[in-house]
Symmetry: C2
Subunit: 304 residues, 2 copies
């Protein structure tokens, strides 16, 4: 028997109200479906820490800046439900867009500063949509703890700030990125890669790793770090990664060294930073990041 998703806000609230009366600790994993091992980690962690585990599956139209991207976003509901069931999820919340947005919202969350760079720069309105739907889902589920992947570093930083700025009574847990054996970050969008694209997709992680290595080795000049990262990206006919007979288009959209809290680009690296990038492989856009710190800081505050 497959787990039966809850489709309305009212029905979910009623179920959770009962759980809450029994003093259950509620863990929440918001997703857009097309679940992969990364989501599995979030769910497993929630399962190990909470009495009640809620997973939402909602492809949020408000956070897509391009209609075609929304249309092409992978949807694998049957598999998603099977995974949730196998991991012991209690409630799968699967609302229609009309349930979440019965009319166009007039109140939305404006994200200053944190959304100015990286993905925010290339996807106008994206983080307004993310912050707004996360707030709505938090209000609907009222979780004690919510789990987010570190792969979406900018999203995680914004969610943390959302919680701080609005005094939301929920603990945010970031979960390390799950990677394929070659290092590629697991992502719902990986499903869209053909075998040739899949091979090239590792380009991003390789570039980010080169940057992180340079920082950990003591390079403090962010421009130099980026130069070393970009040197690992294979050249393409037009210098910008256009498609060629040899293979699909490959283009780094951005690769940036930012402060790990504010998501602002840094010039001199003197604290914990996130090296983040976005890569286009054919018509698929992938993101990834590595958090790292200069050796002086590692020495002062060992990570292990």
């Amino acid at each position: 028997m497959s787990i039966r998703p809850v489709e309305t806000i009212a029905a979910l609230r009623q179920r959770l109200e009962e759980a809450r009366r029994g003093a259950a600790r509620i863990g929440f994993v918001p997703t857009m479906g097309a679940l992969h091992h990364g989501h599995g980690q979030l769910i497993a962690l929630a399962r190990s820490k909470c009495d009640r585990v809620v997973v939402s599956i909602f492809v949020n139209p408000l956070q897509f800046d391009r209609v075609d991207d929304l249309a092409q976003y992978p949807r694998t509901l049957a598999d998603d439900l099977a995974l949730c069931e196998s991991l012991g999820v209690d409630d799968v919340f699967l609302p229609a867009a009309s349930e979440m947005y019965p009319s166009p919202p007039r109140c939305t969350v404006e994200v200053a500063e944190l959304g100015d760079h990286l993905c925010g720069r290339y996807r106008p309105g994206h983080f307004r949509g993310v912050a707004t739907v996360v707030l709505k889902l938090f209000e609907i589920v009222r979780p004690d703890i919510a789990y987010f992947g570190e792969k979406d570093a900018q999203q995680l930083a914004i969610v943390r700030r959302l919680v701080t700025d609005f005094n939301l009574p929920v603990a945010i847990v970031g979960v390390p990125t799950v990677r394929e054996p070659d290092g590629l970050a697991t992502s719902s969008r990986n499903r869209r890669l053909d075998p040739c694209e899949r091979k090239l997709a590792i380009t991003l992680f390789r570039a980010l790793s080169a940057a992180a290595d340079a920082i950990r080795a003591g390079e403090t000049d962010a421009a130099e770090v980026k130069r070393r990262a970009m040197a690992t990206v294979p050249p393409s006919p037009d210098g910008y990664g256009a498609a060629s007979p040899a293979g699909p288009a490959l283009r780094i959209e951005y690769l940036e060294v930012v402060n790990s809290d504010t998501m602002q680009p840094v010039v001199q690296i003197d604290g914990t930073v996130v090296v983040a990038g976005a890569l286009w492989v054919g018509s698929t856009r992938l993101i990834d990041n590595i958090r790292c710190e200069p050796p002086s800081l590692s020495w002062r505050a060992p990570r292990a």
Copy 2:
């Protein structure tokens, strides 16, 4: 013994957590202090409907567009606490600005459409500040019911929309405006009027009443309604209400007929509207409004 205010978010949450475990229904009245009979009505209603009544007193810097207005906003804490005690308030939340905004917020509530006219047009950023602090206070208090005065009609419409758009699990109750014997809406800002200004302050209610009378008598052209309202405003030397030897400056900032839900100006009146206005008397700005409907609608849906 006077009621002892709670100054930190943590302390208030702890007190309310205990109440909530006892299944208390929590009523909340957010205020900026300088409490008057209008606030008294909100508190009394909350007291009659809820097990636990929380009043917040916080002059929210984020909603002031002018520094001098913030500085001059009346503060009468001892009287406020005495009133709260006399009305049986359980908790007075009195946070410092640094408790509410330990750092400048990066996430704020953007209010589209509803904040475009009336006060929103003349006080840039005002409703962003209002919506943001109301959301924060709701997250801190987590009330079952929150009470707002209908005097601030645009604010009330925005709070209702905030609740709808973000799925906040709180019921919003609007409470009719309390008026002085001559009709002046009670307001914290009335304290700033000298006797001469106090007399002139009734100008606004008189103009709004003329508009409401015209609408209830069947006038459907909003421009004509406004003309009749403005005809009741005493002329001033420069035609714009500048100060003169005869008395203080008097100026209608706006007087508008708007849809009661969307707060958008209407041209033809064919449903419930709000006639709202702002009046400057000397250096004090007062607002007021009257909700009314055309006679056809009154007949179809009698208000009593």
